[in-house]
Symmetry: D4
Subunit: 254 residues, 8 copies
């Protein structure tokens, strides 16, 4: 709720257009819709071109479909992450234009394809096995109106593979680097570019990779100063933040 | 090294202006200076308005002074982090305009004060004890040419304290949120703004805070999608990335 | 065993109504019944209106049914937690009025529905995926004679969702807050109310949530002073303690 | 802020007694005072008889004294935890009746000694070395208007020591159990009483106690259903929650 | 190899009864038989009444049967731990008198039933779910010639259950205590008896039990001085050591 | 309290020699003395020849001296572990025959030197740095009436050093093996002897030894079946249990 | 890329045999082939007799086959690790001479069988269950042109088993030691030989072995100075490094 | 002890030159000298040109001097690691030619300077703060007869710094790479060379570096196949193994 809206409400109340009880309810219900098992958040997304996102893991199929049904009435772009083809089958019943992305295990509804980014977002993976997480990031970036460059399998043990991409990396507005195992790639990319690098550790590896902890720690301790980190396998979050960085800045009216 | 420079070198070599051995050396020595215990990285910083940064911990006093001495010859702004007043005393001998910031334990030399940011950077702390880390971030942002808004002691257990700052947070280009203990503040701020939030866990706390691990994990698992994380107590890194986000995007010429 | 009972035993023994061996046996067997694989604890529960609880995980179906069979002879309310529909099928054979609660994976026999609480117990979840654990808590509270208010999906990243429930939270005798991921909600609720908050971390999340550790640590480090914590996913324990807090205090006769 | 206050504000604004800007400020500033390095939270504490608490660790001496100075103007009881005798010396300059408690490393100002509890709070330690944490809890309970019974050095390896206290434990409204090493005492006490048990792990121990982790885990996994847990060495938090439990319940007027 | 044997070898070699190469081979091959995938250890077990033990996990069915086949030719008692009914079916083909113990998942061949213990071994579990591990210990003790007393489901949260067994515990030569969750029972038993207590943590529990870590740490930090610990779920090891303690001491002839 | 004592009490009470209140008190006070900060446990130790032990860490000097003063009135042998020479100075004031053992940081009062063991206890260290912990074990064993054989610096990387001690190890009734770093020595010794081996991990090491965790885990996972483990650096506990094992078994009269 | 190649490129470019764009491309594409989901690294392997290795886990069947197809065109020896018989079935379609090694779960194509080692590589396992990892190492060594000696099931608890292999171990150029549980064997072998020992922790064990962490830590803390460590279950890595050590040293021409 | 020596002993015994008891003693005492607190290992080192190494941490000054005194009588080169200048002062009394190396905190006695390596050993550090550990490695290599090339401060965030050293790295027989923080450098170096890389994690870093754990895990998970790892800060171990690799292979006579 921005101040403008609150001011309007206060004015309406003062003028007697709104009684006190109605003013209280209006404030309370302004921003979400309670459907029992979820409080669906509206408003901001629709206004700003964000996709609404449903984190699929841990929700029943009926819950996911119910939430998507509410969302598509109000926002043009919707993502469902960490889901499966079965859910997709039912989501298509309420959104015929939903797409299924197997590698990323993501459902995407993208009705608004306006380009909103200042530059390009480069997404790099260290290995072939990191591609699913990187695709989750890439699909998110696209759903938020960005051009994406995909650079797969450019890990540090064959350093010439990433060096060969130096120029395209240096021309991006922001880089996403996806790596498992020792998670060293973000440091190398970070040293090559002058823009923010979002590091995504993946759970790829075995033994002392501890499901991505080794990569996560490596990235948190990066000696490159322009690296920030998201949760293990969180391609969506990386794509979301990269999109915010790439979006042209228009100061909000206070 | 961008392609233009390489092309020039190749041309010069082809034209016979450079013999083969000299071409090899030029490529090799283009970007750093080897002073024995350190390879001082020049070039990029001077060109782009970045401060050079010396991580003070684990270096001897003589090493720090030696490195600073080389840096100030080439770049206008220099930061020394995680250092102490004793080192500062000697650094002043080689840079009379060095400043000492006690709370942040940082030396700052800032000869170039050009403003380079598109908007403002808001920095919020959860508690009073988190201020030193937040100051490290703030001083870094300023050294990189940004306006900073400081909001101290606005933790979630008194949620009205951060809600009261909603407008100033929403008008920033990027927010830095510094918190120890449970590290919950970035999620709350993240839910309030439509810009990137850089979360800095601090080692403030005791018992099961495990020197900042609790805050770090909390931030990595943030349910707000616009949050990325840096290392525990890494105020410098947060300030550095925030500055890159706030800087106007000018695509590099390839 | 309270002192009164022991005194009676000693008196009876002194008066010769009980020989020495019998006195020893009486003390030994007073409080439980040994059925081989379990020592079924009677007495306290029946006297005080507590349900008896069988932790289902790790017990065979036959063991669970055997224990329930003994319990229903003596206590009106019985809960079986962490079990499945197959066990429920057999439990119905020995307790026709047993209910199956799918979301909570709990069997409940509730013959005594006396209301015993002073006020209401509010139960809040951060997300939709936390509902099963919260339902375990809610069903336990109800089985112990409490009124429960359920507030689902009110996590901190959309802070207005929980702020909208401020009044109902503030009118409760005790709050249970169930959250996974970063586990920040108990701190926010704790700051809003003047009653005890019982925080239940859930295993909801991925990557660096480490099966609930992130949420657990967040809650243990809460900056709100009125928060205590139970084990990950321990909805039953939270409901049990909340019920004890909500019960009117009548000092035991010594 | 309760609804009544908000209603009054809205009414005053409607009646023209308050202009719009003043109404916004009033809402914003209602509950805390910004003194630069801290936002001092007033109001609730004064109204409800809570002591205000300053967590001393990580704050400078000047900061602590400054905060205490503001607090004593408004609330009768103030606690400063995790501090030292040097700070106490300066606090006495602004609060002549401040007391120093060496074992608990706590400063206490207690001008309001109204008794507010329904029953007694029993505090038990496993060993002699756990007394400082237990004293922090005891002093907090007393500052919040409760009668406290102290039972020191009653650990499980000499089970008769705690069994001998059965009656006094059973007559309490709530028990606090403080233990390091294996942290087993809360389970035993929990099995003996029908009231909530707040378990406080301490950092007492060596080797595989890992600074209190062993005790913390033991308590989180307690097989007694009436046990909740606070952070390692958090005597204050345990005392605070125990006081809330022991306070007579008067539903807030909505 | 004891000295006597070596002396004999040396004498035989000196006397020329053995050539040098044969002496070297004899020393090398004295104590085990190499069957390719395993070096089966003979000798000591047969002489001293120990059962031979095959750790079943991670071995193929054929390997287990092959090893058992060699063992039964030389030693009377053989145990196979962590195995399944399928393996048992094949083991019976090479040892018709093999027994299958479902709860402990153990195969036992016991041809020598000589009693070898000085006293009795008491085995206690905290809960019903700990019985399988305790049975592994009990069957091992019996295979090594001991009388065993089984005391199941006597956990600390109902302290009277274990207090009722005080006498039988105090009359044992050694106690084994098996517990999951918080692992507090060994401390209580340890305080009640004047003999060694072998603590066996189990993986029973959930959430912060971390598969037995909580119980393991609790036991390692026991405040009872007579407690030693074995690996999580290692019933066999506990039974083995308890048997060694209970065996009458006859100094080896050097 | 053994049954005989309880029977006598019951008889006396029945005969009217004891009134009911006195009987209750007698039961309650039979076994310890409450001196405020500690409940000093008497009785069992004096009867059975155990030394009383005061764990010095975390207790004030006055507390230690106070406890020792009570103990020496009733038991002949007293140990104070983890203490320092300053405490020893004051302990000598209340026990002129107290000895100070620098390496083990232990005070020992040993008035009863009866030999109580069946055989010898062998104590082995892996390295020179492990000697202090091993001395704590050795002094405890001696205080409990045992002969001890010390074998220092016989770690596995020079396997001939421990092989050379094979005979003396094999003639012991029980072995204590003290090792830091990788903690491999107990497995080797365990494979060489037919008696219980008590493994003591030490905090000797650096880096990934994590203060003894590596050694602790190594010992818990020992492939030798006769190894049990105590806490890191717990020489006292190892000595205590070894003494119980070495003591001749005399079944308690029930 | 060695200097010679670069020099040639520069010369060709100077002489006008190569235009500038072509020179840039040649440098960029010299060493790998981009097939979309992978950048296949050529050149070095073919030149030096290394096998190319495909880490199978996390790659789809089609990806593995695709990569193998490219590799077999250029290098004689190819390994696919962590794969299954189904993949093998398809790999045979593109490489008829591929072999399937069940125990090691490895596909091997070995067209070049030149012996390249100076000496022999000894590979030792602690137990039977460690054989699969050891086989992965052995097959790798053979594919890289080495003679291998396999010594299975020679763990430390029966120390004579490894002592009996002393001579063969001492004659090797390098030893690989594979062990789970406490991971003690590398220290013992390390103390017996004067060559490098590569320790491979395995995930064999249970409870506090934590999937190989105990073995890993044991090996990292080895008191034998000639031990280095690879990741848990990383038989391939150990075999690879051992082969590099065993290869005759021929200084590269600069 | 090699077989030849044993054969000689057996022959001497057979011929009557040695009686049985003497033969047993000879075998037992062949390889070390027992000086009470240490068993000094002789023989192998003197024969093979290894330095003897004393790990200084945890030993008293007198113990170190005592051990050095014995060693210098028999071996030409002795190292004392993790020690201080005070110890050095006393060591000079027994070895006038001892050298003190401040950065590495190491005492070195090097009387034999024979070069024994086939090639050169390259040692690289990621940062300036890693130099002390790298120096420990370098001094060890030199003491074992190797030529060393030192490359300091060539971390991955400025990738050109290490790329510039490609040739010198590629010409080495073995590389040691020393890095803290994210520990990424060994992967990059590993990908550049065709020889073994020994990775040494250092404790340099802060926050989530956890004293070197991040670097250690990164190195264990290296995607470069030629990397093995030693303990955190274990420069000595890395230098020792590198020396063994660099030594010309001469098969032992069996």
């Amino acid at each position: 709720m921005n101040l403008q809206e609150l001011e309007n409400l206060l004015r309406a109340h003062r003028n007697g257009e709104l009684d006190t009880h109605a003013a209280l309810q209006a404030i309370k219900n302004l921003q979400y819709e309670d459907i029992g098992y979820a409080r669906v958040d509206h408003g901001r997304a629709a206004r700003q071109g964000f996709p609404e996102v449903v984190f699929g893991a841990g929700k029943t199929r009926a819950q996911i479909v119910g939430i998507v049904e509410r969302l598509v009435e109000r926002v043009p772009n919707v993502l469902v992450t960490r889901t499966d083809a079965g859910v997709f089958g039912e989501v298509r019943n309420v959104a015929i234009d939903a797409e299924w992305h197997e590698a990323a295990r993501m459902i995407r509804i993208q009705r608004d394809k306006t380009e909103r980014g200042e530059g390009e977002i480069s997404i790099v993976t260290a290995g072939t096995s990191d591609i699913p997480v990187a695709e989750e990031a890439a699909l998110t970036c696209e759903a938020m109106g960005n051009r994406v460059r995909r650079i797969w399998d450019a890990g540090v043990a064959g350093i010439h593979r990433v060096l060969a991409e130096r120029e395209s990396l240096q021309s991006a507005r922001v880089c996403i680097v996806v790596a498992g195992m020792e998670g060293a790639l973000p440091s190398v990319v970070g040293g090559m570019v002058a823009v923010p690098v979002i590091a995504v550790p993946t759970s790829i590896g075995y033994g002392a990779s501890f499901g991505g902890i080794a990569a996560l720690l490596g990235m948190l301790n990066s000696c490159a100063s322009n690296v920030t980190v998201v949760n293990i396998d969180n391609g969506f979050g990386a794509g979301f933040v990269a999109s915010l960085i790439n979006r042209e800045f228009v100061p909000q009216q206070e």
